[in-house]
Symmetry: C2
Subunit: 165 residues, 2 copies
Amino acid sequence: MPKIDIDKAPVTTASIYPEPYAAQMAGRSSRGLGQAAGLTQFGVNIVTLAPGAVASLRHWHLNEDEFAMVLTGDLILIEDQGEIPMRPGDCAAWRAGVANGHRFVNRSDAPASFLVVGSKAASETVTYADVDMILRIDGDGIEMTYHDGSDWSGPRDLAPKGDRK
Amino acid sequence: MPKIDIDKAPVTTASIYPEPYAAQMAGRSSRGLGQAAGLTQFGVNIVTLAPGAVASLRHWHLNEDEFAMVLTGDLILIEDQGEIPMRPGDCAAWRAGVANGHRFVNRSDAPASFLVVGSKAASETVTYADVDMILRIDGDGIEMTYHDGSDWSGPRDLAPKGDRK
């Protein structure tokens, strides 16, 4: 049946991030609607954030388009240009390859949720804007580096912008 | 800015269907959120149906995954298995290549809308379940045939199921 039984769609609270970032995702859960429906070309998830929770580190995708619509509650979208309040029905999208790190955070005292759609590329590179990390993801697994391409061996701050090439 | 100004996203009421089917889409409009945001890998539209309007002929996609979430009003999803009432927050999805013709209709006395996401394949074949028509769409245009592959030259009913190979 094409109608999705949302309550039966799989829920995950796991993060692909290494520590200490994974622990920072506490209070986030993601329900896999696309997975429940057997979609393979793009992911569709409903992400719920407890009060104070964040959806991700601030990041951008090299190969995959991304779209989000707020469903319930009040969220803040943080990106390079600053912070944008987002209410139910508000939408945002990020075209693949545009280097604008973004994330949703819930600073309200009630849960909030959003629908998020992302293409599924054969391989993906995700660059984090506030921490020195890049994840390269493909069928073989996840490779973690710093922004300069060297192996990631623990959390470190980004170099000041003037030092970056 | 990643936040989409929905009121400024382009609206279309046009249909790719030949007549008489195009005229049957009266009362439907589609707002291109993905287009407004410059997405290229999947389409994101908010489709609004006036009372009595339909979103499409009943159809299925060979190459493209499709997902929909009802946003406002009361809709009916019609597919091979019958009719399913759909309310705001209800979701449905159709995996590419699954031959289950579907469409939304608005039988209520108020407007209704849904969000729809579809992959953008380089070429697509759309098969219509209630009328004898197949559309093949690629960068060169649209080719229209009957289900038996012969050129479409005007509306005709499908042969009774027992006669189909």
